[in-house]
Symmetry: C5
Subunit: 367 residues, 5 copies
Amino acid sequence: MAKPHNKNNHPSRKRRRQRRRHQSAGRVPGSLRVSRDAVATTVRAIGYDSTGIEDHPNFDISQLPKLLGKWQKVWVDVTGLGTEATLRELGQQLLLHPLALEDTINVHQRAKVDLYSDHLFFVAHMAASQPDRLTEQCSFFLKHSLLVTFQEQSNSTWEQVRLRLRNGHTGLQQGGVDFLAHALLDACLDSFFPELDHLGDQLDSFDEQATEGRTPVDFHQIHLIRHELLQFRRIIRPHRDMVNELVRDDCMFVTAETRVFLRDCFDHVIQLLDIVESYRELAADLRDFQMSLTSNRLNNIMRVLTVLSTLFLPMTFVTGLYGMNFDTTSAWNMPELHWRFGYLFSFGLMAIFTLGMMLYFRKRGML
Amino acid sequence: MAKPHNKNNHPSRKRRRQRRRHQSAGRVPGSLRVSRDAVATTVRAIGYDSTGIEDHPNFDISQLPKLLGKWQKVWVDVTGLGTEATLRELGQQLLLHPLALEDTINVHQRAKVDLYSDHLFFVAHMAASQPDRLTEQCSFFLKHSLLVTFQEQSNSTWEQVRLRLRNGHTGLQQGGVDFLAHALLDACLDSFFPELDHLGDQLDSFDEQATEGRTPVDFHQIHLIRHELLQFRRIIRPHRDMVNELVRDDCMFVTAETRVFLRDCFDHVIQLLDIVESYRELAADLRDFQMSLTSNRLNNIMRVLTVLSTLFLPMTFVTGLYGMNFDTTSAWNMPELHWRFGYLFSFGLMAIFTLGMMLYFRKRGML
Amino acid sequence: MAKPHNKNNHPSRKRRRQRRRHQSAGRVPGSLRVSRDAVATTVRAIGYDSTGIEDHPNFDISQLPKLLGKWQKVWVDVTGLGTEATLRELGQQLLLHPLALEDTINVHQRAKVDLYSDHLFFVAHMAASQPDRLTEQCSFFLKHSLLVTFQEQSNSTWEQVRLRLRNGHTGLQQGGVDFLAHALLDACLDSFFPELDHLGDQLDSFDEQATEGRTPVDFHQIHLIRHELLQFRRIIRPHRDMVNELVRDDCMFVTAETRVFLRDCFDHVIQLLDIVESYRELAADLRDFQMSLTSNRLNNIMRVLTVLSTLFLPMTFVTGLYGMNFDTTSAWNMPELHWRFGYLFSFGLMAIFTLGMMLYFRKRGML
Amino acid sequence: MAKPHNKNNHPSRKRRRQRRRHQSAGRVPGSLRVSRDAVATTVRAIGYDSTGIEDHPNFDISQLPKLLGKWQKVWVDVTGLGTEATLRELGQQLLLHPLALEDTINVHQRAKVDLYSDHLFFVAHMAASQPDRLTEQCSFFLKHSLLVTFQEQSNSTWEQVRLRLRNGHTGLQQGGVDFLAHALLDACLDSFFPELDHLGDQLDSFDEQATEGRTPVDFHQIHLIRHELLQFRRIIRPHRDMVNELVRDDCMFVTAETRVFLRDCFDHVIQLLDIVESYRELAADLRDFQMSLTSNRLNNIMRVLTVLSTLFLPMTFVTGLYGMNFDTTSAWNMPELHWRFGYLFSFGLMAIFTLGMMLYFRKRGML
Amino acid sequence: MAKPHNKNNHPSRKRRRQRRRHQSAGRVPGSLRVSRDAVATTVRAIGYDSTGIEDHPNFDISQLPKLLGKWQKVWVDVTGLGTEATLRELGQQLLLHPLALEDTINVHQRAKVDLYSDHLFFVAHMAASQPDRLTEQCSFFLKHSLLVTFQEQSNSTWEQVRLRLRNGHTGLQQGGVDFLAHALLDACLDSFFPELDHLGDQLDSFDEQATEGRTPVDFHQIHLIRHELLQFRRIIRPHRDMVNELVRDDCMFVTAETRVFLRDCFDHVIQLLDIVESYRELAADLRDFQMSLTSNRLNNIMRVLTVLSTLFLPMTFVTGLYGMNFDTTSAWNMPELHWRFGYLFSFGLMAIFTLGMMLYFRKRGML
């Protein structure tokens, strides 16, 4: 039986929320305002072409021209958005547009593409690696031979891509930096699948419990899942337009070969949204179903009460009747008490009362 | 009367679910990862033209060039996606795009069309022949004189098409491989109609039961049907865009004559979606209707209880009153007990109490 | 008072359903499969021009060339889709496309237009004349000087148009066969208005009953009306696109003058859909309103019960108290029984109990 | 306290409905069928240009050519659609298209624009001046120097425009007849604002009542308001497309200067629809809110009942127990009756029973 | 425990409403009608270019030509819409279109852009600075070197922009008046974020309370929040089209550089609408969730009642039974009273009754 007043023990589901952007009106557009809880910035640079790869885990950004001279393709991977000086220097060294850089630092942007004169800028999200957050933002600056990415924290989503880049046989070294950007974006999108699968598994197990009638579905759990799905939808939906723009637009930073692969990304986004919508509908169905069961059960319980009352109220009345203390010297006062079979008569009276009422209510369709 | 706590006996409706795709982020796009529970691969090849037909149930794929040389039109029908070596060989022999081949093997794709430089690729779904699954995926690679199809398991949906192909008078032998592809796609779509008809029949019988008031609608059944319709919608909806692209696009692999017939397929998809939507709305209407009935019935039951209480509570009170043991030597203590007609008086008192209360509540509109 | 368990007496509303198409997958597209319950086919031909009219109620289809030679405009009106031989002959004589002919026979098509090289084909629906069905399908083959129509049964919807055709002053004789087709299509669409008006009148009378509180709205009736509206919407909606295509497309079979009149048809379809949507919303509003009333009434009933209990439970307790048989030789055992005003004291006790509780609950906002 | 069974006293809100169009299928398009309850037709003609104005309240339509010769701009204002002869004569004199004239007479048209070769025809609606109707229809025939308007009844909506026309300083005399048509259309649209404001005021007062908890919201009123909003939406929505067509289309009857002002009309339509939608949502929110309150209150009432029962059922049981008449000569039969403190013991028993049960239920979270 | 009857103490949330526009039909479009509660008009003018800035807090509008002659860029900032004479003079001096000026004064316009021949006019909204209102309207007239803005009251939203304008290093002085207009519009939009954040924080805290089961969610609060979100959506939504038009249209008053920054504004509008929609859904989810909890709790309470009745009704019946006063001289009348263990027998009887009923009901799944 449920205890509705102290329900704070849900070990299986932690509350994960998106942080909210707090922005003061009238601020200068394009200004950098580093968040206090941001992680310190580290820069990693990887130069590569089809012949090899050179990896600098702690890269000095002033060495970039040298690296660009040595390798045909360079990926500058910035992790952590907490060191303002480094970020400013990066922006100036790489000639990034101030508005784009601002969107990179203020990590509550919708996924979007902006085409600037000398680079393509896009923002995406990935599932968070930390248990208390839902998603993390990452930003891409794509030039002809340079890809600069920013992410909030070091996490494992892109680790696989780095491994593939080091392994020469996966095609990543042969492709351009736009193909690398695609691989990273694909990894971001794919990181949502396990999250949604987890929610789906939970919904399925609730669904099975409910239809088998073993245990009532926990409304708290369904509410939390619907809430998370709402947040996922809000975050994933803008990716549809974003990836679509990348596929369609004729910008020079993305080659036709990569576009074929981006179509695949687009399919994934659509699939993610399909899943989120289905799960939200499924959760709503589950809730409504559980409500129906609850109201059905209430009906049954009320019927017990009514049957009970129909049985016992008249019987108790009769016992009360013959428990009255009227002076039986008057022949009009309860002569039944002196009858030989008065006791049995009282049982008969009870039976008649009870049966009569049950018949009456049944005839009126009330029971 | 329903037993809400042990509801695990629904013989008429088995739980059928789509399997979920589990994909790790960062994998190489275009890589083949054969599922463990996939069926072993067998290849069947049929060469045909308007003059005749040659059928190889167990085809050695290396013999393909010879078959292509002998017949104008060849259909390679691959069943089972479990043997990785065979699939790889097929991909290389037939020059299929790795991304398309990957979508073929990972059987949780949305229906879609992709046009590659030397072939048209599309994915469709058909109703599953196995009782525990809802749908199966099939993939089509269409070249000028070669059609390659992949399906998860051998099932009966395409059997009719094979019979028509063998029978020279149905026009299939005369048409190109694109017309054969259309016939197979049409069979896939048509396989959904009996499934939906079955759900519709169930809804209709529930509806009749509910409106005739014979038995309350089983919320479990409606919930399961809504769930299946939700899955069908998610699977069928992408076919709309897919078939529409096949009809509209000016690709060279589909002839104008076949396009006329594909318009018919498009009508079928729209009709399927219409049906799914109507059934979902109908199921929701049924559920709401049943809820209304339940809450109406609760009202009636409560009225019984209230009428009962209004009748018996005052009567029982009076009997209790004259059952008290006050010392009647004092003239102030229950003189009624010694009245000649005290017993009848008590009945009168009960009648007045009861009638008075019923009148009062009726006047206040409460009964 | 309602009797929820045997509700099978709704004289005002018969259950009317669309029959469902049962189609086996893999059938040959364009094949004729005559339904078993179809009516035997009869052919009527009317030749006319601005000079006169010639009507053959039982036309021998082989005489068509002669008729076409004699009159500028010919309408072949086929009623009943049950005689396969006649239908086949018609198809061959008139050179109708097999797919179009199939759609004509299988009467569960959505309204649609298909333009073939030598004729325009469109499918529409009209309200059924039989009481157990909702709609009937009719098909139009429009050539330059020949209109062929197919309908499921002889019904009165087109009778008016035939009368106008016979009467030379209505402009029908002067217009082309496309204008005649428009007049027939217009009659089909107009046949839905009385049906919807009937549903609307019922909803209005329910609405008035509900707001005047005379009788509770019958959930069964609202459910049936919503169900019929759902079916009407599914049938009428495709007509929007169909008529719109007829208005916009630049096909040679429809003249500009007729297009002006088809715009009027389009307005009617939009109006029909508006009405269906409004009625569905109105029905849902009614149901929700009735639910609110029900739950309001439940509240009131519960309040009666609670007031009753608050009144009588403590009073009955007191009577029970002084009905106990403790040995009053001990001065501690119920000395009240021997008090002079013990009886009155007991009434006082009841009053205090009852008032105290009522005050307490009222203060807590519970009553 | 509400009286749900006789709710026919709503002085503040009269039931206003749109009359329904009853049209027989197969009628001749373009035929005039004057409604029986239509008002007798009167014709008013106003000739004007920037130099002056000439007003004929009862105009003889045969004098029109003379008037057109004398003034550059003429407005023929037809009120009442009941005199068929006059309407026919008007149609012939002014060369109006039969279909347009039919739409003028059958006053249940959606707002729409039809461009005929020699005039522009559009239909609009205005709020009704009579208390039992919701809206009235008006029609506009716009030629180069002639505006013909039809309205169902004489009402005050256009009075202001006539005053402005008479007053030379308002720009109306300087503009063309299209500018006059715009002014009249604008007056029609503006006539909806007070109606919606009235509904909004009612909703606001209900909302305040509900949130302050003074009185429960009357479901009947909300239902009636939602119903009226539904009707307003159905009537106003087509105006959006209608005015938009007037703004965009390049027809010669509307000048560019007037188009600027029509943009303003378009803004008003959008605003009207915004308001209707918001109010419908607000009304639904109110209803749901009230439902929540009701169900909350039910919960509280039930808790009173349960507390009462928990208190008194065990106490009444104990009193019944010691009211039994067992023969106490046997030491096993109710020795408590002879105890010195038996009476007090019974109170202790009651207290223990009651407290024990309350504790148990509280521990199980049931109270 | 809640007190549903006097709920007028909500300190945390004041009722803020949009005032409603009351407009009489037939008024002259373009006429000025100053609202009675409007604030007196004050004019401030700022002339600036990249070399410096000149600020006139109380500007005499007749000095404008001089100011325009002296500075390349001039911003005329009009606060308060209450002084008709000043507004009229402004309109004439600045050659503003009468329709645009009317929209400026009647402050219940939807956000919109209108392009006039010599200026661009647009209307936007900002969050209100006063506690009893939700939003305020501001209007922009943009010419080549002159920006005229109108706002209802002096408020702090634009203060930051004025500071940045005075501070030469923020780029505002270097940009054109269109860039200044963008900065002001951006400040307007950003002013909504704190408002929505506040609502979101409240929803989050309700959500936490509800899932932790500490206190039931207050339906009043959720209703008020949903109502405010409804109003915000109605106000913010038109900004989407408005900003989009500013970004896309090729009008000469907005430079390409400013357009890049307006894209950022567009992102903000979309984000605002996303947030409003999510919050509305979240509030609805919360309400439904709370409803589920309520109905669940009702179920539990009813179960208590039923258990109680099942326990005590039969027991009380037995005690009543042996409290009857039948004359036990007849051996048929209650011989149990004289049994040695009659008292214990009666307890046994109670136990059997109670257990039997509990078993029966449990077997029927009713408890």
